[in-house]
Amino acid sequence: MKPTAIALATAAMLTAVPAMAEDLVLSIGSRGYGPAVERNLARYAEVNPDVSIEWNKVSDVPGETRKLYVTGLSAKSPTPDVYALDVIWAGEFAQRGWLEPLGGLLADETIAAFNPSLLTASTVDGKVHALPLYTDGIHFFYRSDLLEKYGLDVPKTWEEVLEASKTITEGEKNPQFYGFVSMWAKIEGLFMNWLAFTNGNGGGFYDADGNVAVNSPANIAATQYMVDLLHEHRYAPDSILNMRPDDARTLFQQGRAAFLMVQGFVHAPLSADDSPVAGKFDFARIPYFEGNEDANTTTMGGWFLGINPNSENKEAAAEFLTHFTAYEQQLTAAVEDNRAPTIPAVYDDPKMSEAEVLAKFGKNYDLGVVRPSAGTGSNYPKVSEIMQLAVTNALHRQKTVEDALNDAQAEIEAVLAD
């Protein structure tokens, strides 16, 4: 303990109102943010010894935690006071009144320091309802040794990805080797993928006026590219349609794919000592379609921290939230635990040289895009399901791309009008 901290702690103890110890309950999993939770709690206890925090270790399986929150928050339970939530729940929970707007509780400049793309995910009716704690986005991993072997540059556009896949798969002469793998099972990851592809073609979920436009020509073309990559060019394995992030990562790690498009967390296992591709891969931003260099193609996920509106101690909760997500805490979590900061300024900190990979991820996050969970609010789960089904139908060629996206557009309009 630093002397200043001891002094502060002593001062706090002496000045604290006796017998009015404040108790807060924090709900967060034990794996997602890893050792950072414990460290942050210890740091907070040093400066706020009169506030005791009870850590409610919720499941790290998002679905289970969501169920727990849905039951507790809908019953207006006053605990937890502060809780961690998936980026895609923020809009829905805010709309259902399960998150306290942070405007009145936190300083404006505190909120303004965070990544603006991520903040949009918890902004409902113009109010920020939760702060991003850490993020993870999808990146484009490639086999640097193979690109070198065939004298290829790192593909920047999807057109170049096709060419590079052709050269490498033809050169490798292995029927079990594929150009491109990703998470195209019917999961949230597929929707993230679709947003990366369509945004990279100047499209996206919304048009420029903010209207839902999933069947725009740009989106149809980008989705058609996904279908063709699989069925016409056959650069992706059939099994890509049941792949979750780790399935795709495993294939890439076995040296059986040239390109991999999943979240950044795969970097650690890929570069582990016993990994066959350690030292033979690198990553870049998600490609774009020719002429769309400025497109935001890094679909971002991550976890937020928010305050329960029924908490009996919102001021203390807000103070705790501010401390927990602050610059210093994010910097340590980045350097020591490899958790990507959500305050862009952290990436420029000199200490970030100790976390090279994260620093490079950070550049991609400047090109961030989030799922439309804030705009669709409590309808987001349905909207996501509609989109996952539509893209799956197209990828399985159960419907043409145009039909699938037209149907999705109509269904989403009906859901949002309801």
């Binding site: 679905g63 849905v70 099994s239 349609l241 049941n242 294939l251 399901e385 799956t392």
Partner: protein, 298 residues
């Protein structure tokens, strides 16, 4: 019965009996009857989770919407197909296993234990194991198929609509045949040896013994096993949830899985309750059919 409680002693006995039974009845009412009624009530109205909006009766609105929902009919079809494919196979396997285990041979105890193993393990765990074996790119089945030269492209077991359903049936049969076998084995052991001895004296073959003695006397246990397993199959959840998550597209999405998604992903408890009530009726009808067809022949 009314006469039996007229004397004071009898009356006291009767009251004591009631006193013993009442707590159990109350618990059963609380944990069984109340949720069932609540589901039915929910399915006929609209209400908010937190009770901020009062319950409103809407009649058959959710059921009418259900009839218009393609995905519901798909889930019903998937559930019935899965049941129709898996139950007969389980029954045949179950009878076979039971007859086998009823014979005396060395290591019978171990064999009985081994057969029970798949059933004793949690479905979720088994299913994840099978998912690995089915994996297209590094699963056991494709490794064997590719190396033996049976196929030259990996088979996409869980990514093809028909194969995914069949793969799911295989896991169910592997897992629950032993349960059928266990119940049928108990039935087998209650058949008196004398019947077989008499049959042998009359010159019956082993097959005739099986058809004329074993099978008719197994009707009771088979009925019980069929009803329990069909109910299970009609509410199957962990299996598709862990094996395919209902995919590809919705080819293996059972009624339970669909209801779960409607309730917990979309948070539409009233609509979800309607699905559950329909499922309840299907299971009820199925049980009735079994009981009537198998009992009438007696």
């Amino acid at each position: 019965m009314t006469t039996s409680v007229t004397s004071p002693l009898d009356r006291r006995r009767h009251l004591t009996g009631m006193a013993f039974v009442t707590p159990t009845l109350l618990v059963i009412t609380a944990i069984l009857v109340y949720p069932i009624l609540q589901s039915i009530v929910l399915s006929f109205g609209t209400s908010s989770l937190d009770g901020s909006e009062p319950y409103q009766f809407v009649g058959l609105k959710h059921y009418a919407a259900l009839a218009q929902t393609e995905r519901f009919w798909n889930a019903l079809g998937v559930t019935l197909t899965f049941t129709a494919l898996s139950i007969p196979l389980e029954l045949i396997m179950g009878i076979g296993l039971a007859v086998l285990l009823n014979e005396s041979f060395r290591g019978k105890g171990i064999a009985r234990l081994a057969v029970l193993f798949p059933w004793a393990l949690p479905t979720a765990l088994n299913t994840l194991m099978w998912r690995w074996m089915y994996n297209t790119d590094y699963g056991l089945f494709n490794a064997v198929a590719l190396q033996s030269g049976v196929v030259d492209r990996p088979i996409n077991w869980l990514g093809d609509e028909t194969l995914a359903m069949l793969s799911m049936v295989v896991v169910a049969v592997w897992k629950t045949s032993s349960f059928m076998a266990l119940i049928i084995l108990a039935g087998l052991q209650s058949i008196p040896r004398e019947l077989y001895e008499a049959g042998r004296m009359d010159g019956m073959t082993r097959w005739q013994e099986f058809r004329e003695i074993t099978l008719p006397l197994l009707k009771g246990p088979i009925l019980v096993a069929l009803i329990i397993r069909s109910m299970d199959a009609l509410r199957t959840f962990e299996l598709p949830f862990n094996l395919t998550d209902g995919g590809p597209v919705t080819a293996t999405e059972s009624l339970s899985l669909y209801a779960y998604k409607v309730m917990f992903d979309f948070i539409e408890f009233n609509f979800g309750a309607a699905i559950v009530v329909v499922q309840f009726l299907v299971i009820f009808a199925m049980s009735l059919i079994y009981i009537l067809t198998l009992r009438n022949k007696d």
